[in-house]
Subunit: 329 residues, 2 copies
């Protein structure tokens, strides 16, 4: 445990929200965040000691993601509550992508000393809300001072005795299926970057991804042979699956329904909505490969696995990004 | 997984150390860090998938610590290798303080895009070296861009079926014992802050704490009734034990041997060496309470637990910090 916020020299009155973290102090903030913290039955010791103690199944799945102010979120575009929710969601998605179920998180939170206490408390409120949605317990953390807000979330999860679903199991003849949204967060980023706040659904997708909680386990139970969380974009992330599995993946452009917000953003920005779908990151959908007759309900087949050089193509051709389709590829 | 370092547009030649992280790219850096990574037999899946998978015992101990550039370390005072080692050590200390044995860590690493690759690789070398010393496997991580270097380490550990040792079990009649160094890191900080590099032992203690690995388990097996990691200073951290346990703790000033480097620093800075010992943080010694006849070898009795108001006194009096002893307290 570290203590690098100066301790509050005075109570600072009752006007919570306008105190800064320097005035509240590290321990004051921790007390506020952890008060009445809900905990699942697997939490033996929650926050407040040197470490948390948890009842766990073996093997355990574990992942960490770091979110940095002005890199992963902008305070002027996302509320503190949004950032808290997103911090949990993007991490739980990694456990889902292994076919697991997230159970607990620990959070590192670093912020400038002049950050308003309200921001930190709203952030914690967002953490709690998304933990509640995802069925995860917040069991520990560390709070410290920094020049820009930096958040790390480590998430632990269970496989309930199943084998983990890796990136290297895709085999020729199988299909590629998708669960969740793609392109929405990128569409939101595009409009926020131009100073707009609509379409609201796209902006909200950028602020807090809608992770298909529970679908990683569904895919694992259905026999998914590989799976990945779409954080960097469908082509980029399926590229990891293709490379690890030593296979070619071909996507069908007509498999994607172009949702209304994507159409609107593409029209407003003069771009191809398919570009948002294929290259937009941060939605944290799940993509997996299955035997053709094993695709579970709720998943959409978007392509197929072939023998060949490890690469991802669309309608049999390589995707040229900004330049549009390479019909000669 | 996030990807916020721009991908290298060119290979940049073979002069590794002078490339920046922007030139190397996120995936290049991850490849460098994870190449030939040693892993314990409990690592089912190491870095490279959405999550790591580990064989674990239940219950599991878990803790996170964040280290921020210019708050927890200064690049001009600590080498990247030192920072890597310290990042592991301070976290493993938290598992020790629960009576556990650390088994695995995941690391979040954020750094400016113009950071030299050499710094990141030396940091990773330090992580690996300290993991090796502590018997811990590095199983996963996240790498991203930020304005200042920010490191989060989450450590997992086992209790081997023992009950965790908490902060709230100290009882009147028991003794307080210490294992490890106190005051050394603060002495090192004092000389570094004045532009000096000696005494070398104190400076090294500031750069990389010497955590008494394995002694948390020793204390637990000996029947420790409470335990804490001394990160903020002996008085401050034992204050948490006193408060949680609802007891008074009195330390004996003659119980502390004043090591030569502390004498030297105190003399050079005109301060009381006992102040370094009682209030200096960052050495990550372990303090625990035991029945008087259960103190294990390697631990030094430094005080006793009494009934009374939750507070820590020294020789029966309150410690007044800068003002020296309050003989009238």
């Amino acid at each position: 445990m570290s203590s690098f916020f100066p301790t509050a020299s005075s109570a600072g009155g009752s006007d919570h929200g306008h105190r800064t973290l320097a005035e509240v102090g590290e321990f004051g903030l921790i007390d506020e965040i952890t008060a009445d913290l809900p905990a699942g039955p697997d939490v033996v010791i929650g926050p407040g000691d040197d470490g948390a103690v948890l009842a766990v199944d073996s093997p355990l799945v574990c992942s960490v993601d770091v979110l940095i102010q002005d890199v992963h979120f902008k305070p002027q575009w996302s509320s503190a509550t949004d950032v808290g929710r997103k911090s949990v969601a993007v991490n739980v998605a990694d456990i889902e992508a292994m076919g697991g179920t997230a159970t607990a998180i620990v959070v590192g939170f670093a912020a400038p000393a002049d950050t308003e206490e309200r921001w930190a408390l709203d952030f914690a409120r967002g953490l709690r809300a998304e933990c509640d949605t995802a069925g995860v317990s917040l069991v520990g953390g560390d709070v410290t001072r920094s020049a820009q807000i930096a958040i790390s979330v480590t998430v632990l999860g269970t496989l309930d005795g199943r084998a983990p679903v890796r990136r290297d199991g895709a085999r020729p003849g199988q299909v590629v299926a998708l669960c969740g949204r793609v392109g929405w967060a990128a569409a939101g980023l595009a409009v926020l970057g131009r100073g707009f706040r609509s379409p609201r659904a796209a902006v909200q997708a950028q602020q807090v991804p809608e992770v298909p909680y529970g679908q990683g386990k569904v895919a694992a139970l259905a026999g998914a042979t590989s799976m990945i969380d779409i954080s960097d974009g469908l082509l980029a992330d399926l590229g990891h699956v293709a490379e690890r599995s030593g296979v070619a993946i071909d996507l069908r452009s007509d498999a994607f329904e172009v949702a209304e917000p994507l159409q609107a953003v593409a029209a407003a920005t003069g771009s191809d909505p398919l570009k948002l779908i294929l290259t937009g990151g941060e939605d944290h959908a799940l993509a997996a490969t299955f035997a053709a007759d094993r695709v579970p309900a709720g998943w959409t087949v978007i392509g197929a696995v072939h023998e060949g050089e490890s690469a991802v193509t669309v309608d049999g051709a390589s995707w040229e990004g900004e330049a549009g389709w390479n019909h000669y590829g």
